[in-house]
Amino acid sequence: MEIIQIWKTASAGIATGKAFFYKPVSLKASAGLIGCDQTGAELDRYRRAEEKVKKEISVLAENSEIFQVHLDLVEDPALQDSIVKKIIEEHKNAELALEETSAEIQETFQSIDDDFFRERAVDIKDVCRRIMLALKGLEEDSLAGIRGKTVLFADQLTPSDTANMDLQSVTGFVTRTGGENSHVAIMARGMNLPALVGVGSAMDEVKAGDDVIVDALDGRIVISPDEETIRKYSRREKEYRQRLEMLKQTNDLPPETADGFRVRLYANAGNLEDIKKATAEGAEGIGLLRSEFLYMESDHLPTEEEQFVAYKCAAELCGGEVIIRTLDIGGDKALPYFQMETEENPFLGWRAIRILLEQRDIFRTQLLAILRASAFGKISIMYPMIISVGELEEANAVLSECKAELTRRGIAFDPDIKTGIMVETPAAVLCADDLAHYADFFSIGTNDLTQYMLAVDRGNKKTAQLYDSFHPAVIRSIRSVIEAGHRHGIPVGMCGEFAGNADAVPLLLGFGLDEFSMSPSRIPEIRYLIRASRRDEAQSFSERVCRCVSPKEVRRLLKERK
């Protein structure tokens, strides 16, 4: 038995079967040049092949947007012009004209410095191969002949290959090249077909006919597994399927406990792409939009207009509330075009709101953009790293100036836009009652809160094991912030990793957390756990946990409860 670690998975699941190496038959153009009198006939031949391919793809395109794009590619004027020119002016036969054109276009795409766009070379190759088959009067049949449970290995697969697979036999596939964003990977996810892509030379360990298990949950290939491993994986596969089924049952149901305590399930987003993932997973809103992406991906401070377009787009993509955190740089995040001195203690240094309150132009530009976008959807503003009421008052004063400016400019915004703070410093925890007078909401940032509360740098290997959000100091802080918020009638959310931690669910429900915001992929499981809980039970349990004297004791209680 041999196990190869891969890490990256393209489509989750576990596949077992015999390894089959797929090598599509090479389709070289039969060389040639043609006579002047033959160009018309050669063009006709190309048109007939093109028509045949269009018909084939049209059938596939009925249920697939990927093949709709393939249909555009067959009819593309740039492709056609090049082929027609090669036939008429260079007297090449249709196959040669197609082969050269296909190679030229693929080369252009392969030189693009962006995975998303570079992957489209495969689509061009796929379409041109179909036309080549039609010109030669051949059918693609090497995949149709597979019998028995099989795991497919290939250097590269095209969307057509994937559509040709007989899912009765093919249980999953592995490719040497390609990325998670390739159309093939997208199709595999749509078909629930386990897949690993871009595994490189790891594939060379496998020989045709080997018994293999492809673990596309943890990213492993197991070659010639022993009896025990086979049993283990068959159990895991069953559990995985049951789990999918289980989570599917609650997918469309509100995040509410069995005794009717309703919370809001939000997602954290680091860019606009994440917002799409979040809505796909059923997030009701965005509890933390890290605005840094706009600054990091740019070579200059993003202008008001650039930011406005992005925030407006975020609100429209989401449909629900979007909480935008104002720029949080410093600490471990720097901008290439913004000079900051090297500090001895960056996490205790000039970062987040401390920078914005000094660099008023940067702050005002961002607030103006957020306000303008608030006319197009429900947007809230969140200030990071607050330690005192003074900072919050000052930030809100800048916001009022920005509102006045927009009114002068005659530009619409939401006058009742909510402003809240991230609670992530011990100071904010202890002053939560004061801060609640000036904030419309709290959002607990457990990652930094844990680090500051315990005075532990989690990047430091020697202290990392002390970093623990289940430490009684962190748990009691969370409780006291939620209670303070509720005493003053403001909602309290959480946007740190703790909100997506399955073990933390009973604690947070018990404390009465109003909004859980987490990475999109955590939503289905947390929703399920919330619906399987009772608020009254969670309350008495969380009180017991608060009396624990060590992280170890907290974990013991959590374990006993399961």
């Binding site: 740039a78 693009i112 998303f116 766009f117 061009i124 606009l272 207009e305 992005a310």
Partner: protein
């Protein structure tokens, strides 16, 4: 010929599906439409040309429209690009 600059704002940029929708949308006009960036110029009738420009979110492009319906087409095309969601 008329022209206007527009910033591509949808998250995936002029990627496969948005580009495909854009090409189809342009078929209703008689004018020829070109898209110009710092790196080159693409005939928008060709999805291959459009995709090979790898236009990402945040890129500002210049639209050039020429033909008998150019005056009515340009604002509609700008609006279409601005309304891309994906």
């Amino acid at each position: 010929m008329v022209s206007q600059k527009v910033t591509i704002s949808n998250p995936t940029g002029l990627h496969a599906r948005p580009a495909s929708q854009f090409c189809k949308f342009l078929k209703k006009f008689k004018s020829k439409v070109f898209l110009i960036t710092d790196t080159g110029k693409a005939d928008c009738a060709s999805i291959i040309n459009l995709l090979s420009m790898a236009i990402k979110q945040g890129t500002t492009v210049e639209l050039q429209v020429s033909g008998e319906d150019e005056k009515t087409a340009l604002p509609e095309i700008v609006e279409f690009l601005k309304s891309l969601k994906e």
